[in-house]
């Protein structure tokens, strides 16, 4: 899908293209994209193969973005710059490690994120622990159970702070039955114990302190956009998503720079990132062909708590092109009520919704007719 664009460069900081799925050595990828269920590495290989002929420059990292859209990069030959008529930021995402969660205790060997564990097991053929606790119950916890099985690591428990698992019920079922792993909800990691190696994870479970003996603790999920090179640049960032503010075509505050995928907000499955990448590519091609004019105004949306964010955060004047990024919200809490989109208090769209923490909820409606500068809000109105 080159859309008539001839001169394309892909910058990849790793030694190979394909991203995070390269290290997810378990099924769950590719149904929509390749019409079959693939392991992560195979999925990544196919994606790279589909881009054959494109100038893929591995070992090149983005350092920053200048106000005029010039990219500052670093590669094997040292730092440099790259200029392009259109740029797609597909920087992806990473998990929140133990340190940023402020979990106390000592700092022994054996504390990892999912990403680190997968690389140690699949990339470096290591077995860094034998009995490990999984912190967090997002879908990625299941990926850990599969990695554990592959590496011969015994899962001690899945520990979740919320009162229910964050992944669909299938996870709890799979964990409980297939992996014989207790799922502890209302359980908060308090401290890690051990001098050289992890010896236990101390948790607060329903208000009681408990020690889970283990030699590994995997902090999973709580994904954040891997957007560090954008911080401090002219690209506006959204504290709610942690990613760049974009409009419905994926345009950032620098109109030649677009963004798609998990750099936009905490994590979506690979096929969503893939879909977004393709849709925003259409918008980029449209802009290069002059069919997507530089916006004269953008309406900014805000999300009222407990909603954590709305994405895209801006709506530019309409164009003949299709909207690339459908509007969605995430809630920071379990909440039911009428999810609605209002401009100056007037409802443009509304729907009864049951929102669960961290899950995506689509928001309908378009803002094409909203006057420039209008205050547009997405909120949940709870029944009295």
């Amino acid at each position: 899908m080159r859309l008539g664009i001839r001169d394309i460069v892909v910058l990849e900081r790793d030694a190979e293209g394909g991203g995070i799925p390269r290290l997810c050595a378990h099924p769950g990828f590719g149904l929509k994209e390749f019409h079959r269920i693939l392991h992560g590495p195979e999925y990544a290989r196919r994606l790279v193969a589909a881009a054959a002929g494109i100038d893929l420059r591995t070992g090149h990292a983005l350092l920053g973005v200048d106000p005029d859209g010039t990219l500052r990069i670093a590669g094997p030959d040292g730092p440099g710059v790259l200029r392009a008529r259109a740029v797609l930021l597909a920087l992806g995402t990473r998990e929140t490690p133990r340190s940023a969660r402020l979990v106390g205790g000592s700092r022994p060997w054996g504390v990892f994120t999912t990403g680190a564990l997968q690389q140690l097991v699949h990339g470096a053929h290591q077995r860094p622990c034998r009995r490990a606790v999984i912190v967090g119950s997002e879908l990625v916890a299941l990926s850990n159970l599969l990695t554990f099985r592959h590496a011969g690591i015994t899962p001690v428990a899945i520990v979740e702070e919320a009162s229910h698992t964050l992944a669909p019920r299938a996870l709890a079922w799979a964990a409980g039955v297939a992996f014989r792993t207790p799922v502890l909800t209302d359980a908060r990691p308090v401290a890690i114990h051990g001098t050289h190696r992890v010896e236990a994870l101390e948790i607060d479970h329903h208000g009681h302190r408990r020690l889970l003996a283990c030699d590994g603790v995997i902090f999973t999920g709580r994904f954040v956009p891997d957007a560090a090179p954008l911080v401090g640049s002219s690209i506006t960032m959204d504290a709610g998503t942690g990613g760049p503010v974009v409009d419905q075509y994926g345009r950032t505050a620098i109109p030649t720079i677009f963004a798609a995928g998990n750099v936009l907000r905490p994590v979506e499955p690979s096929w969503t990132a893939w879909t977004e990448g393709r849709a925003v590519a259409q918008a980029m091609a449209g802009q290069l062909a002059g069919r997507l004019p530089v916006p004269t105004h953008r309406t900014t949306l805000s999300a009222a708590p407990p909603l954590r964010f709305v994405c895209p955060q801006q709506w530019s004047e309409p164009s003949p092109l299709q909207v690339a990024l459908p509007m969605q919200v995430r809630s920071g809490d379990d909440v039911s009520g009428r999810l609605r989109l209002t401009a100056h208090g007037e409802e443009l769209w509304g729907h009864r919704a049951r929102l669960r923490t961290g899950r995506r909820i689509p928001v309908g409606g378009r803002l094409d007719d909203v006057a420039p500068g209008a205050e547009v809000l997405v909120e949940v109105v709870r029944p009295n």
């Binding site: 900081r13 790793d14 030694a15 290290l23 070992g59 990292a61 670093a74 590669g75 094997p76 030959d77 040292g78 730092p79 990473r94 998990e95 490690p97 133990r98 340190s99 940023a100 402020l102 979990v103 106390g104 205790g105 000592s106 700092r107 060997w109 990892f112 994120t113 990403g115 680190a116 564990l117 997968q118 690389q119 140690l120 699949h122 990339g123 470096a124 053929h125 290591q126 077995r127 860094p128 308090v190 401290a191 001098t195 954040v224 891997d226 560090a228 911080v231 401090g232 504290a239």
Partner: protein, 454 residues
Amino acid sequence: MHDVAVIGGGVVGCALLRRLALHGLDAVLLERGRDILSGASKANSALLHTGFDAPANSLELSCIRAGYSEYFDIHESLGLPLVQTGAVMVAWNETQQARLPSLLAKAHANGILDVRAISPAEIDRLQPGLAPGALAGLHIPGEHVIDPWSAPLAYVRQAMAHGATVIRDCEVLDGVLEDGIWRLVTPRGDVQARIVVNAAGLYGDLVERLARIPPFEIRPRKGQFVVLDKSAHAAVRTIVLPVPDERTKGIIVCPTAFGNVIVGPTAEEQTARDQAATDTATLEALVARGREILPALAGHAVTATYAGLRPATERSEYRIEALPDQQWISVAGIRSTGLTAALGIARHVLDLFRRHFGPVADEAVPVSTPVPNLCESLPRRWMQPDAGEIVCHCERVTRSEIEAALSGPLPAGDLGGLRRRTRAMLGRCQGFHCAGRVARLAAGRLPEFPENQP
């Protein structure tokens, strides 16, 4: 047989080894950890102190001043950074303000003559964006930021270039002085030396028992820190100090040489010597305190948290003493000023050695043994046209730096040592992206990454 055995590979032991080796002594360093800096020296606030607030006329003050001056002299030839930030001490209430004149007088009495009282407007000029309400302050232009891990590494490598030996994983289990020779029993075999220097830090009183009933007791004092993301660095131009009270120097906000910001330390007494635990409530309070002092720190993520142990004793002063009959020199109670004072302590210990144990050669012309630069404000390896692969993108660590740290005269002894030598895995993702690549490069060379995993 060696001339001197230095017990303890912290910053003091490393500086001692260098000084002794520069004077032609055959010195051996015995470190119980898998790498140097495995105890108190692995976690501190990374400041080069002037001594403006040190006890008047104390040994600590003279060691700080000598260490400070020597660091200025040698840092360039050793490849060590000196980030000249200065410090601002801020009084937030009248009680604190009332203490400033005596602190200023003390600074001047200590010989730090460029310390001066400053107004709120000057505070704001030196460190814009502080919370409103500063009443008055002191400017201490000579307080600076250094790399706390590269400095001792550079000292010890220069010592090795002058013939010193380093043995790690080498806890001194026992020792006897027989016929004028110390025989130290370690898991790595016996080590013989004429003179023993006890620089065992947190284990100082235990090691001291080999020579005498220890006249001091180590009472580890814990300090917790949070490290904020590099995105916060631009907001912090100087070291922001509170007005100290009798017990502690208080919570500081300061930039690091690596381009982060740290907030800490706490001061908590404990008995354990081998573990420094953080706790969530304290870490949260540090994050909050940082934002209270400098509101611009809000919204910047926490990159890392750590706790260090200061090897304090029941008294506040340094406990440095030669025991001529025991052929022993004690270097104990080196608290939070050790990073700065180490070079000065080493000079003082050499004087003791000369006085009690005989003449030493004049200082040799030092062999230049620069360490790789890790400081953000100086050229890094990844900036070179032959940088090669970048392995850790958060900290921009190249493959060649990791490989260099795993080889050479003093390769990293464990993952902590590799992190301290290169910064790999110390960034915001804490190894999410690079753990596997680091493991492949280090397989079979670090205990964490065995060659063939069973």
